[in-house]
Protein backbone atom coordinates (compact mmCIF):
# COMPACT_ATOMS: atom_id res chain seq x y z
CA UNK A 1 0.00 0.00 0.00
CA UNK A 2 3.03 2.23 0.45
CA UNK A 3 2.61 3.99 -2.85
CA UNK A 4 -0.62 2.98 -4.47
CA UNK A 5 -1.51 5.13 -7.42
CA UNK A 6 2.04 6.37 -7.50
CA UNK A 7 1.35 7.90 -10.85
CA UNK A 8 -1.53 9.95 -9.69
CA UNK A 9 0.45 11.31 -6.79
CA UNK A 10 3.40 12.39 -8.81
CA UNK A 11 0.93 13.88 -11.25
CA UNK A 12 -0.67 15.97 -8.58
CA UNK A 13 2.69 16.60 -6.99
CA UNK A 14 3.69 18.88 -9.82
CA UNK A 15 4.26 22.39 -8.52
CA UNK A 16 3.66 21.02 -5.07
CA UNK A 17 5.95 23.63 -3.55
CA UNK A 18 3.68 26.43 -4.69
CA UNK A 19 0.77 24.99 -2.78
CA UNK A 20 1.97 24.60 0.77
CA UNK A 21 -0.27 25.44 3.70
CA UNK A 22 1.55 25.10 7.03
CA UNK A 23 0.28 21.98 8.83
CA UNK A 24 -1.33 22.36 12.22
CA UNK A 25 -4.59 23.22 13.94
CA UNK A 26 -6.69 26.07 12.56
CA UNK A 27 -9.84 27.66 13.96
CA UNK A 28 -12.56 28.45 11.43
CA UNK A 29 -14.90 31.06 12.89
CA UNK A 30 -15.00 30.84 16.68
CA UNK A 31 -15.12 27.11 17.50
CA UNK A 32 -15.91 25.92 21.01
CA UNK A 33 -14.24 22.92 22.69
CA UNK A 34 -17.27 20.93 21.50
CA UNK A 35 -16.92 21.86 17.83
CA UNK A 36 -16.03 19.11 15.33
CA UNK A 37 -12.44 18.62 14.16
CA UNK A 38 -12.09 18.19 10.41
CA UNK A 39 -8.86 16.74 9.07
CA UNK A 40 -7.43 17.68 5.68
CA UNK A 41 -4.25 17.80 3.60
CA UNK A 42 -1.98 20.78 3.10
CA UNK A 43 -2.72 20.88 -0.60
CA UNK A 44 -3.73 24.41 -1.37
CA UNK A 45 -6.67 23.50 -3.59
CA UNK A 46 -8.16 21.10 -1.05
CA UNK A 47 -7.52 23.50 1.78
CA UNK A 48 -9.20 26.38 -0.06
CA UNK A 49 -12.14 24.17 -0.99
CA UNK A 50 -12.59 23.06 2.59
CA UNK A 51 -12.28 26.59 3.95
CA UNK A 52 -14.77 27.89 1.43
CA UNK A 53 -17.20 25.09 2.20
CA UNK A 54 -16.91 25.89 5.90
CA UNK A 55 -17.26 29.66 5.63
CA UNK A 56 -19.58 31.03 8.32
CA UNK A 57 -19.24 27.96 10.55
CA UNK A 58 -17.33 27.31 13.73
CA UNK A 59 -15.15 24.24 13.41
CA UNK A 60 -11.57 23.12 13.96
CA UNK A 61 -9.43 22.25 10.96
CA UNK A 62 -6.45 19.95 11.46
CA UNK A 63 -4.12 20.22 8.46
CA UNK A 64 -1.74 17.32 7.92
CA UNK A 65 1.67 17.62 6.30
CA UNK A 66 1.16 15.91 2.95
CA UNK A 67 3.80 17.98 1.18
CA UNK A 68 1.29 19.79 -0.94
CA UNK A 69 -0.34 16.64 -2.32
CA UNK A 70 -4.10 16.14 -2.32
CA UNK A 71 -5.84 13.79 0.10
CA UNK A 72 -6.44 10.88 -2.26
CA UNK A 73 -2.92 10.77 -3.62
CA UNK A 74 -1.33 11.44 -0.24
CA UNK A 75 -3.39 8.64 1.31
CA UNK A 76 -1.99 6.27 -1.28
CA UNK A 77 1.49 7.42 -0.48
CA UNK A 78 0.85 7.14 3.24
CA UNK A 79 1.64 10.79 4.00
CA UNK A 80 -2.03 11.36 4.72
CA UNK A 81 -1.79 8.49 7.14
CA UNK A 82 -1.84 7.05 10.62
CA UNK A 83 1.65 8.19 11.63
CA UNK A 84 1.23 11.78 10.48
CA UNK A 85 -2.24 12.04 11.99
CA UNK A 86 -1.11 10.72 15.36
CA UNK A 87 1.86 13.09 15.37
CA UNK A 88 -0.24 16.10 14.37
CA UNK A 89 -2.84 15.39 17.06
CA UNK A 90 -0.09 15.31 19.66
CA UNK A 91 1.85 18.31 18.36
CA UNK A 92 -1.20 20.56 18.10
CA UNK A 93 -2.27 19.76 21.65
CA UNK A 94 -5.70 18.94 20.29
CA UNK A 95 -6.68 16.93 23.36
CA UNK A 96 -6.46 20.12 25.43
CA UNK A 97 -8.24 22.31 22.89
CA UNK A 98 -11.33 20.16 22.48
CA UNK A 99 -13.33 18.23 25.01
CA UNK A 100 -14.64 15.49 22.75
CA UNK A 101 -12.52 12.76 21.19
CA UNK A 102 -13.71 12.66 17.60
CA UNK A 103 -11.93 13.32 14.30
CA UNK A 104 -13.74 13.75 10.98
CA UNK A 105 -11.80 12.61 7.93
CA UNK A 106 -12.44 12.70 4.17
CA UNK A 107 -13.40 9.27 2.83
CA UNK A 108 -10.66 9.33 0.21
CA UNK A 109 -8.11 9.66 3.02
CA UNK A 110 -9.03 6.21 4.31
CA UNK A 111 -6.47 4.21 2.28
CA UNK A 112 -3.67 5.82 4.31
CA UNK A 113 -5.24 5.64 7.74
CA UNK A 114 -6.02 2.75 10.08
CA UNK A 115 -8.79 4.20 12.22
CA UNK A 116 -8.42 1.66 15.03
CA UNK A 117 -4.69 2.33 15.33
CA UNK A 118 -5.22 6.09 15.53
CA UNK A 119 -7.74 5.49 18.29
CA UNK A 120 -5.32 3.26 20.16
CA UNK A 121 -2.57 5.87 19.95
CA UNK A 122 -4.53 9.07 20.55
CA UNK A 123 -7.87 8.11 22.09
CA UNK A 124 -9.58 9.97 19.23
CA UNK A 125 -12.11 7.99 17.22
CA UNK A 126 -12.38 8.52 13.48
CA UNK A 127 -15.40 9.08 11.29
CA UNK A 128 -15.01 9.14 7.52
CA UNK A 129 -17.47 11.79 6.44
CA UNK A 130 -17.68 12.61 2.75
CA UNK A 131 -15.78 12.22 -0.49
CA UNK A 132 -16.20 15.83 -1.64
CA UNK A 133 -15.38 18.88 0.44
CA UNK A 134 -18.51 20.56 -0.94
CA UNK A 135 -20.64 18.02 0.92
CA UNK A 136 -19.21 18.84 4.36
CA UNK A 137 -21.79 21.55 5.22
CA UNK A 138 -24.63 19.19 4.41
CA UNK A 139 -22.91 16.49 6.43
CA UNK A 140 -22.65 18.78 9.45
CA UNK A 141 -26.26 19.91 9.07
CA UNK A 142 -27.33 16.31 8.75
CA UNK A 143 -26.26 15.57 12.32
CA UNK A 144 -22.83 14.40 11.09
CA UNK A 145 -24.30 11.51 9.17
CA UNK A 146 -23.14 10.46 5.70
CA UNK A 147 -25.80 10.02 3.04
CA UNK A 148 -25.26 7.46 0.23
CA UNK A 149 -24.66 10.31 -2.23
CA UNK A 150 -21.79 11.62 -0.09
CA UNK A 151 -19.86 8.37 -0.52
CA UNK A 152 -20.58 7.90 -4.19
CA UNK A 153 -17.58 8.69 -6.36
CA UNK A 154 -17.93 10.63 -9.56
CA UNK A 155 -15.67 11.15 -12.54
CA UNK A 156 -17.31 14.01 -14.37
CA UNK A 157 -16.26 15.60 -17.61
CA UNK A 158 -14.75 18.46 -15.64
CA UNK A 159 -12.88 16.11 -13.33
CA UNK A 160 -11.42 14.36 -16.37
CA UNK A 161 -10.61 17.62 -18.15
CA UNK A 162 -8.50 19.04 -15.34
CA UNK A 163 -6.30 15.95 -15.41
CA UNK A 164 -5.37 16.32 -19.06
CA UNK A 165 -2.96 19.30 -18.90
CA UNK A 166 -0.93 17.63 -16.17
CA UNK A 167 -0.77 14.44 -18.21
CA UNK A 168 0.47 16.37 -21.22
CA UNK A 169 3.17 18.18 -19.25
CA UNK A 170 4.39 14.82 -17.96
CA UNK A 171 4.97 13.38 -21.42
CA UNK A 172 6.50 16.49 -23.01
CA UNK A 173 10.04 15.22 -22.56
CA UNK A 174 9.26 11.87 -24.13
CA UNK A 175 7.45 13.64 -26.95
CA UNK A 176 10.45 15.84 -27.71
CA UNK A 177 12.88 12.94 -27.74
CA UNK A 178 10.73 10.45 -29.69
CA UNK A 179 9.19 13.09 -31.94
CA UNK A 180 12.62 14.51 -32.76
CA UNK A 181 14.03 11.05 -33.47
CA UNK A 182 11.05 10.19 -35.63
CA UNK A 183 11.46 13.44 -37.56
CA UNK A 184 15.13 12.74 -38.29
CA UNK A 185 14.51 9.18 -39.43
CA UNK A 186 11.61 10.20 -41.65
CA UNK A 187 13.64 13.12 -42.99
CA UNK A 188 16.45 10.82 -44.10
CA UNK A 189 14.06 8.22 -45.46
CA UNK A 190 11.43 10.33 -47.21
CA UNK A 191 12.27 14.04 -47.16
CA UNK A 192 10.93 16.96 -45.17
CA UNK A 193 7.27 16.56 -46.21
CA UNK A 194 7.17 12.95 -45.04
CA UNK A 195 8.99 13.89 -41.84
CA UNK A 196 6.49 16.60 -40.98
CA UNK A 197 3.54 14.30 -41.69
CA UNK A 198 5.02 11.55 -39.53
CA UNK A 199 5.64 13.81 -36.58
CA UNK A 200 2.22 15.44 -36.83
CA UNK A 201 0.61 12.01 -36.94
CA UNK A 202 2.61 10.86 -33.93
CA UNK A 203 1.71 13.95 -31.90
CA UNK A 204 -1.93 13.59 -32.90
CA UNK A 205 -1.97 9.95 -31.84
CA UNK A 206 -0.45 10.83 -28.47
CA UNK A 207 -2.95 13.65 -27.97
CA UNK A 208 -5.79 11.31 -28.89
CA UNK A 209 -4.66 8.79 -26.29
CA UNK A 210 -3.88 11.27 -23.57
CA UNK A 211 -6.69 13.81 -23.97
CA UNK A 212 -9.43 12.83 -26.40
CA UNK A 213 -10.03 9.29 -25.16
CA UNK A 214 -10.00 10.21 -21.43
CA UNK A 215 -12.40 13.08 -21.99
CA UNK A 216 -14.73 10.91 -24.09
CA UNK A 217 -14.17 7.92 -21.79
CA UNK A 218 -17.78 6.93 -21.05
CA UNK A 219 -18.78 7.31 -24.70
CA UNK A 220 -16.15 4.99 -26.15
CA UNK A 221 -17.29 1.36 -26.13
CA UNK A 222 -15.61 -1.33 -24.05
CA UNK A 223 -14.25 -1.48 -20.52
CA UNK A 224 -10.60 -1.96 -21.35
CA UNK A 225 -8.66 1.29 -21.49
CA UNK A 226 -6.29 -0.19 -24.07
CA UNK A 227 -9.25 -0.98 -26.33
CA UNK A 228 -10.82 2.44 -25.78
CA UNK A 229 -7.51 4.08 -26.67
CA UNK A 230 -7.07 1.91 -29.75
CA UNK A 231 -10.59 2.73 -30.97
CA UNK A 232 -9.98 6.44 -30.51
CA UNK A 233 -6.64 5.97 -32.28
CA UNK A 234 -8.29 4.28 -35.26
CA UNK A 235 -10.73 7.17 -35.52
CA UNK A 236 -7.80 9.58 -35.37
CA UNK A 237 -5.94 7.62 -38.07
CA UNK A 238 -8.96 7.92 -40.35
CA UNK A 239 -9.25 11.67 -39.78
CA UNK A 240 -5.53 12.12 -40.26
CA UNK A 241 -5.64 10.02 -43.42
CA UNK A 242 -8.29 12.31 -44.87
CA UNK A 243 -6.61 15.57 -43.80
CA UNK A 244 -3.04 14.66 -44.69
CA UNK A 245 -3.89 13.30 -48.12
CA UNK A 246 -3.29 9.67 -47.21
CA UNK A 247 -4.71 8.48 -50.52
CA UNK A 248 -1.42 9.47 -52.11
CA UNK A 249 0.72 7.38 -49.73
CA UNK A 250 2.03 3.97 -50.75
CA UNK A 251 -0.07 1.14 -49.31
CA UNK A 252 2.55 -0.02 -46.79
CA UNK A 253 2.64 3.48 -45.34
CA UNK A 254 -1.16 3.61 -45.27
CA UNK A 255 -1.28 0.29 -43.44
CA UNK A 256 1.50 1.35 -41.08
CA UNK A 257 -0.34 4.54 -40.12
CA UNK A 258 -3.45 2.55 -39.18
CA UNK A 259 -1.34 0.23 -37.02
CA UNK A 260 1.13 2.55 -35.34
CA UNK A 261 -1.12 5.50 -34.44
CA UNK A 262 -3.78 3.42 -32.68
CA UNK A 263 -1.02 1.55 -30.81
CA UNK A 264 0.40 4.86 -29.56
CA UNK A 265 -3.02 6.18 -28.54
CA UNK A 266 -3.83 2.90 -26.84
CA UNK A 267 -0.75 3.03 -24.61
CA UNK A 268 -1.43 6.55 -23.43
CA UNK A 269 -5.06 5.85 -22.67
CA UNK A 270 -4.02 2.77 -20.71
CA UNK A 271 -1.64 4.97 -18.76
CA UNK A 272 -4.52 7.24 -17.82
CA UNK A 273 -5.72 4.51 -15.43
CA UNK A 274 -3.27 6.01 -12.95
CA UNK A 275 -5.52 9.06 -12.74
CA UNK A 276 -8.88 7.40 -12.33
CA UNK A 277 -10.64 6.32 -9.19
CA UNK A 278 -12.33 3.22 -10.54
CA UNK A 279 -9.64 1.16 -12.25
CA UNK A 280 -7.86 -1.52 -10.25
CA UNK A 281 -4.20 -2.35 -10.31
CA UNK A 282 -4.98 -5.99 -11.13
CA UNK A 283 -7.09 -4.88 -14.06
CA UNK A 284 -4.33 -2.70 -15.45
CA UNK A 285 -1.86 -5.56 -14.98
CA UNK A 286 -4.13 -7.83 -16.99
CA UNK A 287 -4.54 -5.24 -19.73
CA UNK A 288 -0.80 -4.85 -19.95
CA UNK A 289 -0.13 -8.57 -20.08
CA UNK A 290 -2.54 -8.93 -22.97
CA UNK A 291 -2.10 -5.52 -24.56
CA UNK A 292 1.61 -4.66 -24.54
CA UNK A 293 2.61 -7.56 -26.85
CA UNK A 294 -0.13 -6.49 -29.27
CA UNK A 295 0.92 -2.85 -29.16
CA UNK A 296 4.59 -3.74 -29.55
CA UNK A 297 3.71 -6.08 -32.41
CA UNK A 298 1.70 -3.39 -34.16
CA UNK A 299 4.58 -0.93 -33.92
CA UNK A 300 7.08 -3.51 -35.17
CA UNK A 301 4.90 -4.53 -38.12
CA UNK A 302 4.34 -0.91 -39.12
CA UNK A 303 8.07 -0.26 -38.97
CA UNK A 304 8.75 -3.29 -41.17
CA UNK A 305 6.02 -2.17 -43.57
CA UNK A 306 7.54 1.27 -43.94
CA UNK A 307 11.05 -0.17 -44.41
CA UNK A 308 9.90 -2.76 -46.92
CA UNK A 309 7.83 -0.15 -48.72
CA UNK A 310 10.84 2.18 -48.95
CA UNK A 311 12.90 -0.59 -50.55
CA UNK A 312 10.24 -1.61 -53.06
CA UNK A 313 8.86 1.75 -54.09
Amino acid sequence: MADHLGACMARWGINRMDFLVPPGLYAIGAPTPEAPVLVTANYQMTYDLVRRALAGRNVWLLVLETFGINVWCAAGKGTFGTTELVRRVAESGLAKVVQHRRLTLPILGAPGVAAHEVQKATDFSITYATIRAEDIPEYLDNGERTTPAMRELSFTLYERLVLVPVEIVLVLKTLLVLGGGLYLVALLAGGSGAALTTVLGYLGAVFTGIAVAPVLLPFIPGRSFAVKGALAGIAFSAVFFALAGGALWSWPVQAASFLAFPAVSSFYTLNFTGCTTFTSRSGVKKEMRLGLPVLGGALLVSLLLVLAGALVY
Binding site: A7, A114, L153, S282
Partner: protein
Protein backbone atom coordinates in the same frame (compact mmCIF):
# COMPACT_ATOMS: atom_id res chain seq x y z
CA UNK B 1 -19.53 4.32 -9.82
CA UNK B 2 -22.35 5.42 -12.06
CA UNK B 3 -21.44 5.28 -15.75
CA UNK B 4 -18.02 3.74 -15.18
CA UNK B 5 -17.17 0.05 -14.90
CA UNK B 6 -13.77 -1.49 -15.24
CA UNK B 7 -12.79 -5.09 -16.08
CA UNK B 8 -14.68 -7.95 -14.43
CA UNK B 9 -13.16 -10.81 -12.45
CA UNK B 10 -9.78 -9.22 -11.77
CA UNK B 11 -9.99 -7.60 -8.33
CA UNK B 12 -7.94 -9.38 -5.67
CA UNK B 13 -10.26 -8.40 -2.82
CA UNK B 14 -10.97 -11.19 -0.28
CA UNK B 15 -13.03 -11.17 2.89
CA UNK B 16 -12.73 -13.72 5.67
CA UNK B 17 -16.21 -13.63 7.15
CA UNK B 18 -15.20 -15.84 10.07
CA UNK B 19 -13.13 -12.98 11.46
CA UNK B 20 -15.62 -10.19 10.79
CA UNK B 21 -17.05 -8.49 13.86
CA UNK B 22 -19.62 -6.50 11.91
CA UNK B 23 -18.32 -3.04 12.79
CA UNK B 24 -19.29 -1.67 9.37
CA UNK B 25 -16.04 0.20 8.87
CA UNK B 26 -15.48 -1.32 5.42
CA UNK B 27 -18.84 0.04 4.26
CA UNK B 28 -17.90 3.45 5.61
CA UNK B 29 -14.59 3.75 3.77
CA UNK B 30 -15.37 2.09 0.43
CA UNK B 31 -16.13 4.69 -2.25
CA UNK B 32 -17.56 2.00 -4.54
CA UNK B 33 -20.16 0.35 -2.31
CA UNK B 34 -18.45 -3.03 -2.60
CA UNK B 35 -19.68 -4.27 0.80
CA UNK B 36 -23.00 -4.78 2.49
CA UNK B 37 -23.76 -5.67 6.08
CA UNK B 38 -26.08 -8.65 6.44
CA UNK B 39 -26.96 -10.26 9.75
CA UNK B 40 -24.13 -8.28 11.40
CA UNK B 41 -21.56 -9.65 8.97
CA UNK B 42 -19.87 -7.87 6.07
CA UNK B 43 -20.32 -9.42 2.65
CA UNK B 44 -18.79 -8.55 -0.72
CA UNK B 45 -21.70 -7.62 -2.97
CA UNK B 46 -19.86 -6.03 -5.90
CA UNK B 47 -16.27 -7.21 -6.18
CA UNK B 48 -15.94 -6.00 -9.77
CA UNK B 49 -16.42 -2.40 -8.61
CA UNK B 50 -13.34 -2.62 -6.36
CA UNK B 51 -10.48 -0.33 -7.40
CA UNK B 52 -8.05 -1.94 -4.94
CA UNK B 53 -7.42 1.23 -2.98
CA UNK B 54 -6.84 -0.73 0.22
CA UNK B 55 -8.99 1.47 2.46
CA UNK B 56 -11.17 -1.39 3.71
CA UNK B 57 -8.25 -3.70 4.45
CA UNK B 58 -6.31 -1.02 6.32
CA UNK B 59 -9.27 0.05 8.42
CA UNK B 60 -10.66 -3.36 9.32
CA UNK B 61 -9.83 -3.76 13.01
CA UNK B 62 -9.62 -7.55 12.79
CA UNK B 63 -7.78 -7.83 9.47
CA UNK B 64 -10.58 -9.75 7.84
CA UNK B 65 -9.93 -8.18 4.45
CA UNK B 66 -7.02 -8.58 2.06
CA UNK B 67 -6.42 -6.82 -1.24
CA UNK B 68 -3.40 -6.25 -3.46
CA UNK B 69 -3.22 -2.47 -3.61
CA UNK B 70 -0.50 -0.45 -5.26
CA UNK B 71 0.55 1.52 -8.34
CA UNK B 72 -2.20 1.40 -10.94
CA UNK B 73 -1.00 3.01 -14.17
CA UNK B 74 0.89 1.50 -17.07
CA UNK B 75 4.09 3.52 -16.63
CA UNK B 76 4.12 2.80 -12.92
CA UNK B 77 3.69 -0.94 -13.44
CA UNK B 78 6.42 -1.00 -16.06
CA UNK B 79 8.78 0.76 -13.64
CA UNK B 80 7.76 -1.67 -10.91
CA UNK B 81 8.52 -4.65 -13.14
CA UNK B 82 11.83 -3.13 -14.12
CA UNK B 83 12.67 -2.61 -10.45
CA UNK B 84 11.75 -6.20 -9.65
CA UNK B 85 14.01 -7.36 -12.47
CA UNK B 86 16.69 -4.93 -11.23
CA UNK B 87 16.76 -3.05 -14.53
CA UNK B 88 17.15 0.71 -14.06
CA UNK B 89 13.97 2.64 -14.89
CA UNK B 90 13.59 4.35 -18.22
CA UNK B 91 12.94 8.03 -17.57
CA UNK B 92 10.33 7.39 -14.92
CA UNK B 93 7.35 8.82 -16.78
CA UNK B 94 5.27 10.18 -13.94
CA UNK B 95 5.12 7.49 -11.34
CA UNK B 96 6.77 7.85 -7.97
Amino acid sequence: MKGFRYLSNVATLELDQKRCVGCGRCLEVCPHQVFALEAKLARIVDRDACMECGACAGNCPVRAITVDSGVGCATGLINEWLREKKIPGVGGGGCG
